[in-house]
Symmetry: C2
Subunit: 372 residues, 2 copies
Amino acid sequence: MKAPGADVGSQPYGTPSPYEKRLIRNIPKNLKQYTSASSRTPLQDLDGIITPNGLFYERHHGGIPEIDPARHRLMIHGLVERPLVLTMDEIRRFPSESRIYFIECSGNPGFEAMTGRTASDLVGLVSCAEWTGVRLRTVLEEAGLEPDARWVVAEGADAAAMTRSIPMEKCLDDAMLVYSQNGERLRPQQGYPFRVLLPGYEGNMSVKWLRRLNVTAEPIHAREETAKYTDLMPDGTARQFTFVMEAKSIITRPSGSQRIAAGFNEITGLAWSGHGRIARVEVSVDDGRSWTEAHLQPPVLTRALTRFRLPWTWDGTPTTILSRATDETGYVQPHFADLTAVRGTKSFYHNNAIIPWRIAASGEVANGFVKA
Amino acid sequence: MKAPGADVGSQPYGTPSPYEKRLIRNIPKNLKQYTSASSRTPLQDLDGIITPNGLFYERHHGGIPEIDPARHRLMIHGLVERPLVLTMDEIRRFPSESRIYFIECSGNPGFEAMTGRTASDLVGLVSCAEWTGVRLRTVLEEAGLEPDARWVVAEGADAAAMTRSIPMEKCLDDAMLVYSQNGERLRPQQGYPFRVLLPGYEGNMSVKWLRRLNVTAEPIHAREETAKYTDLMPDGTARQFTFVMEAKSIITRPSGSQRIAAGFNEITGLAWSGHGRIARVEVSVDDGRSWTEAHLQPPVLTRALTRFRLPWTWDGTPTTILSRATDETGYVQPHFADLTAVRGTKSFYHNNAIIPWRIAASGEVANGFVKA
């Protein structure tokens, strides 16, 4: 403090402290290509429920396009009375809403990928932000729906032309077209200049870099709703259109790769459900023999991350800690064994199993699915 | 979309689109020095209630220090039973809480500074984030308060050694020591590695880069609570210890330097009060002759920014639009003339006047305090 610090003008757009350089997105190493890939939010190092935009998870199928908003257009056509081509300025002129929602990748984690070291490795394909945009309903009403209109096919302007069919019921309910994330314009990784947002649905359906809405009578059966994003069941059939992400939770502290000391430790983590609000999170510090209800940090919002906390005094004995979420529908997060008993071993998406963290006598925390 | 976009690994810590380069903090030009200065949040270009960390307003008095958290310590001494010196790791081990609060500079704007062009020029010294940290009460209880303990003097590690006296009542109520902002670690500009946060109190008291808490029987009468941050009244006396920021609001769209078209325009803006929740925001589109209650976007949280919205069809006639906030105590945001009638013309801080935006026939929006 003996010398003046940096000027107020030194960072017109601020960045984290140089001492936090390690706090970045969790990007897989040694993949064959990164154009269709994902990066994960470092959940174990974050607090609260808001994910900062710089650390929001990414998943894209044809790389991140760089779109000039002045040249970008949204076409709305198909079973509508008045086909529309809208500019960004026109989209921003509609009545707006701001809401806090999570977005989660459908494969978070894949059923075969329970061996990650950290909370981010396991379920880092979920993030939460305050989104602003226009209700999809408002835009569809501007175009006017014809009587047979049952689905809306959303198409992105990325190199993958990501295409998903959205049931009309969701389009007319809480679906949004969003252009803002945590106050500022959407980031390129999140669909700049704007994207669909379907609260509680698998993230892939919230089509980014949106350029087209085709109103149809039937779903289009695109690649991402047939070959991918369907759930292969033990009998060889596939569940299609499994949209809603079910209740899930994870303890983020203490969690894998961290180390705790004996004595007081706060157990904290995140819970969420695509069906609505989180009603309850229970924590077990004895590998599931007994459960204690954790405190839910207000505000507890529908289809948003919810932070839970439980004070705990660790006596230094090796143990396994778990969390289990219940949402407002009464649905309870299952154990992995119960999930695979129904879904088999060939399923990939919609794994919302309870995550166990094993704590050694040294205080080292590790993934309970991996043998010590 | 004919070529793949950027790789998932191209930005381990993400940044805004290159097309949003203009969306930066509003930094004054041609000041004599920038070590004791401020930058403002570009409110007119933001949506929702969360301010992204890169655009959070700054105000510092000795520049931004670069602090190594591994070497930083917090000393708690004075009228305590057990003086403490805490490391960052020790502070993070206390039970934590996350809450969404605004922080606002006391002079936002100064009484003499009503001529700004934009919403940011006028009241850009306010921002809002989700903060995580420990209750100040928890840390003080760890040290143990002596019977005479009535104030806590907080001191920063910046070159200004920012020092403020905080009444014990606030310290034991909702005051926090925060280390996280919108999920990630506090930014250097906001007090990294941690700061005081006094919800609803003038921002200067939420001492950044905190290094010392001295528990005392009396306030210390530091420079920033005598020569500065007091309110000079018409009779020559000064109001001291005017901590709470009173109810305020501003329309951010349409606002100064923007241009609207005739027809439908959503009027939207922000309201906040240091006394608690916003109860009501009224908007006038006829220079105060009539008022209409705006919609408040949930969640409406205590001592947080609240977003309001009102649909409006502009007929193209020149007019002036206003907003007026009422908080849960029943306090109503005053007109500037009513404020100066009581406070005189020599006052600087705690100006929460109604801000008028004048709309010309061309649709150009300008500060209503400035003659056309």
